[in-house]
């Protein structure tokens, strides 16, 4: 066995890891680095490796993973909306904490989300504007404009289903919880409370709700 080989391997792993990390960190700041070396030193410098092709114009794009939460005042209360984007898929849930609820899903590409419920009675069209998603939500005959702002975990969508009873919750950016429980007969009531650690007491038993993200199959 070679003596230096393993050290080379360790070094390669460290260099690759740190390198990718630094590229990530450099992307944190959207301000592009000035391409100084390219323009000014070309007269004498030896031919540098071909510069990477210029990045495409900054099209609005969703983060790899994000949750957006918005509140829509309606005649009978407030509808809370959470849009969870992961990759190129989004899933959204809207409910009023009493009886209205709808799950929507669909693609999220180029800063646009276009979602619909399974039975097509609800839909949502939204676009990225700054860091927020603005758009329109249709439920049945009604429609509302909304603005949903980015929210960090534990904010997001949670669901727990057992014996045909589905409880769905939104935790908003301030830690507020809104949820609706759907019974097997299709009736809807206010969902039991949900703690910020995603546990809920349903019929006297403590259960753990599943966090739902854009890519989830709910």
């Amino acid at each position: 066995m070679k003596i230096r080989g393993p050290i080379v391997t360790l070094g390669a792993v460290a260099v690759l890891g740190i390198g990718i990390w630094l590229v990530n960190v450099s992307k944190e700041d959207p301000e592009p680095a000035p391409p100084a070396a390219q323009a000014t030193t070309s007269t004498t410098a030896a031919p540098a490796p071909a510069p990477a092709p210029p990045p495409p114009p900054p099209a609005p794009a969703f983060p790899a993973k994000a949750d957006y939460v918005g509140k829509i005042p309606i005649a009978t209360g407030t509808i809370t909306l959470d849009i969870s984007v992961e990759g190129e898929k989004a899933i959204a849930y809207a409910c009023d904490g009493k009886s209205i609820e709808t799950w929507l899903r669909g693609p999220a590409v180029n800063g646009l989300v276009s979602l619909a419920s399974k039975d097509k009675t609800s839909r949502l069209e939204g676009r990225l504007e700054g860091d927020s998603v603005v758009g329109t939500l249709w439920i049945g005959e009604k429609k509302w404009d909304f603005k949903a702002d980015p929210a960090q975990p534990p904010a997001g969508l949670y669901v727990y289903e057992e014996a045909g009873v589905r409880s769905s919750w939104i935790i908003d950016g301030e830690g507020g919880v809104t949820g609706v429980q759907r019974r097997p007969d299709g009736s809807t009531v206010r969902a039991p409370g949900l703690s910020l650690d995603a546990t809920s007491v349903i019929d006297g038993r403590t259960v753990v709700a599943t966090r739902v993200e854009g890519d989830s199959d709910v």
Binding site: L10, V13, I20, A64, D215
Partner: protein, 192 residues
């Protein structure tokens, strides 16, 4: 890479100190594992990391890179068995050692972008058991890997030390894969 003179000092001090040498490598590996975990916990998740073009999502890229690493790791296991003459058929082919080294390098390098994405975009999390164990095994894997690499630089170890270390690295990677890529493929289907 083969530098025979580099072996001399190590060989000179090997006797009697092999236990301490093993202890030192294990401690260094533990520092790496705990350090990664602490770092992943402290660093604020960015929910974003550079990705590879051509895949549907960052998670898909990670799952496939992890699967590549596990596939190479399976070859690692097989080639290690051959090197220790544990497979029927007697002598191992002469190239098996080199193949073992390079498949291992490729495996761990394939895992690095995945791990950076995990640490950078998500961090050490304990939301549910799958995520908790994935985080723990992920840190354990790199700690065990560091220990194994450092052990390889030591001479005069007891015969079982390297196989045990290699086995732990393999175990760590397989469990990392089971708690992530397999879960991804089960919930999303085999997607690219």
């Amino acid at each position: 890479m083969s530098d025979p003179t580099a072996q001399m000092p190590t060989q000179a001090v090997r006797t009697g100190s092999s236990g301490i040498a093993v202890l030192v490598t294990v401690i260094l590996g533990a520092i790496v594992a705990v350090g990664l975990g602490v770092f992943g916990k402290i660093h604020e998740p960015q929910f974003f990391s550079i990705s590879v073009a051509g895949f549907s999502s960052g998670t898909a890229v990670k799952s496939w890179l992890a699967t590549l690493a596990v596939t190479l790791a399976l070859f690692q296991l097989a080639s290690a068995f051959a090197m220790y003459r544990l497979i029927p058929g007697g002598k191992a082919p002469s190239w098996i050692g080199t193949a073992h080294v390079w498949s291992g390098r490729l495996a761990v390098l394939a895992s690095v972008p995945v791990a950076v994405h995990c640490l950078y975009a998500l961090g050490f999390q304990s939301g549910d058991n799958r995520v908790l164990f994935h985080s723990l095994f992920g840190c354990f894997f790199y700690g065990a890997f560091v220990t194994k690499m450092l052990l390889l630089t030591r001479k005069g170890l007891r015969g079982w030390v390297i196989p045990v270390a290699g086995g732990l690295v393999f175990f760590g990677l397989v469990y990392v894969w089971l708690t992530s890529a397999l879960w991804f493929f089960q919930t999303n289907g085999i997607t690219f």
